[in-house]
Symmetry: C2
Subunit: 317 residues, 2 copies
């Protein structure tokens, strides 16, 4: 399969590294060879990857009929939205880690994919290195799932951890930025928007319906004080930023907010950039998935899993 990667940042570099290091494992499992035909980025520095065709203009890739699948890793829902639509319309499959794009424009994007008979997979968009989405989609639909709950944003989880160690909110945020976890503009992470994107996609996988993003109630961690953290500690609990989707009388309701989590809850011990996803079904009972929520190679592992699915599974819509 000939593929192209658009957006060569941390994760894109990770994908190239794994395709190289794990070539045999990857090709054995997928059942054919994988060739990166193009890489696309705005940074010139990438031209050094001399054996890969480089372009700054993604339209060049769309015109290459030999490319079967495009991996979009630029983020956001403006240019990425154009890329997604044009990718699908040109008859190519799309793999994306872009929760922002899918949670806000997913309905339109899935429609286009269906119409053009191509696939989209997005295992890396939620809980990066926690291989959960395949099992949730393929394995829980008859389990009578009523609730799905997760710690889905590593940055805010890291900040809450640092506050438990004594930092106030502002210095904890600074520590997260210095460690490379938080963006210069941390709005999406600390205000719960990133968590809302992700829980919305989990809800889609469970119940097959993408909720209007504006209907999600979102509260972030940016109002949490040292006093709140102290209070939680004294009562044997921890504050965690929780995304939760519930099905009540055929209605799906999604909330994002900081919650006090008790010691015996699986989510209590999810620390730093780890993510945890818990679900409850009237038939299936409780399940829990745990793994790294970010990082170049864990996320790249998820993207390469999507290459398997492009070749070996029907689409998820």
């Amino acid at each position: 399969m000939k593929i192209a990667i658009i957006g060569i940042g941390t994760v894109g570099t990770g994908v190239l590294e794994l395709l190289n290091q794990e070539k045999n494992n990857i090709e054995n499992r997928i059942g054919e060879s994988i060739e990166v035909s193009w890489i696309c980025d705005l940074k010139d520095t990438l031209k050094i990857e001399s054996n890969l065709k480089f372009t700054k203009n993604y339209k060049e890739i769309l015109n290459d009929n030999s490319v079967e699948t495009i991996i979009e890793l630029i983020g956001g829902n403006t240019t990425a939205f154009e890329i997604a639509k044009e990718t699908l319309k040109s008859g190519k499959n799309l793999i994306t880690a872009n929760k922002h794009l899918l949670a806000t424009k997913g309905i339109e994007i899935f429609e286009i994919a269906k119409k053009h008979n191509v696939k989209i997979f997005f295992e890396a968009a939620v809980a990066g290195g926690t291989p959960a989405l395949s099992s949730i989609y393929e394995g829980t639909f008859s389990g009578g799932i009523k609730t799905i709950t997760g710690i889905l944003n590593g940055t805010s989880n890291y900040i809450l951890n640092k506050m438990e160690e004594g930092s106030d909110y502002d210095s904890a945020l600074k520590l997260a930025q210095e460690a490379g976890y938080a963006e210069l503009d941390p709005t999406f992470d600390v205000k719960g928007i990133d968590t809302a994107h992700k829980i919305s996609l989990l809800s889609y996988l469970v119940w097959g319906k993408l909720i209007d993003f504006k209907k999600i109630n979102i509260k972030g961690i940016d109002k949490i004080t040292k006093k709140d953290i102290e209070f939680a500690k004294n009562s044997g609990k921890r504050f965690k930023l929780i995304g939760e989707a519930k099905k009540i009388n055929n209605q799906i309701i999604i909330n994002v907010e900081p919650r006090l989590i008790e010691k015996n809850d699986q989510l209590y011990n999810v620390n730093d950039v780890y993510n945890g996803i818990k679900s409850y079904g009237i038939h299936l009972g409780e399940t829990f998935f745990y793994g790294k929520g970010a990082g170049a190679l864990p996320t790249a592992t998820a993207i390469i899993g999507d290459l398997y699915k492009i070749k070996n599974s029907n689409a998820w819509y």
Copy 2:
């Protein structure tokens, strides 16, 4: 899709119940209607399911060309082995919860399936209601997995729990039998054989190779004393029956044994009939899956997930 169920015990009854209760969800996700054409069991009482065709002779089902998939739930590796082989040779797909069969006869069975171009799925064979196998197979193969470790046998886990509460081994086993967890002959559970079957299948999913079952080192919980349990408690640890597969220099080594598990280990809090599966990969890092290891409806949920895969995914061999 027309299906047949051979073996109508706890789990078989659960499958029939879910197919009835969750009909819409199931058919929407799978993409077609599911019809149970036959049920097969040795018990006459089943004739009461008047709208389902009943037989005591599975060969009748093999001769029905309209049946596309057979769900085998009788267990063991004698009659079940015959049923599996004949199912595949007759061009029908096979879904099974039978770890004993696959861990000991899998190589031959997978060969026959390949030759006859039919599929086998077995999500319910390992950790029943923990939807883990799809994600492990599809999502971790490029993660550089080095170790996979699990609590995979609910019965022995329950017995160890009861011993922690003060019972000695014999009375804990009795309690497990009274609660319906342990069989009259509990050998496979308490001697670690069932765990060995399951870890062997997990190892197959991760590395694509089924180990000669005789090469697995197996130690059960039947030699654990009250004193051992006391010692563990006093050092802040717990005894758990652990199955572990490791890849060392391209060699896969599998061990089953009771181990002292520390408090900060994800497996420490896996209680009663719950199962936990932990993996570590040099690229992917740590992942953890948790859910019910048994029970009619959790296990039935896994089997119905396999019906999705029959229709929507390529085979796992």
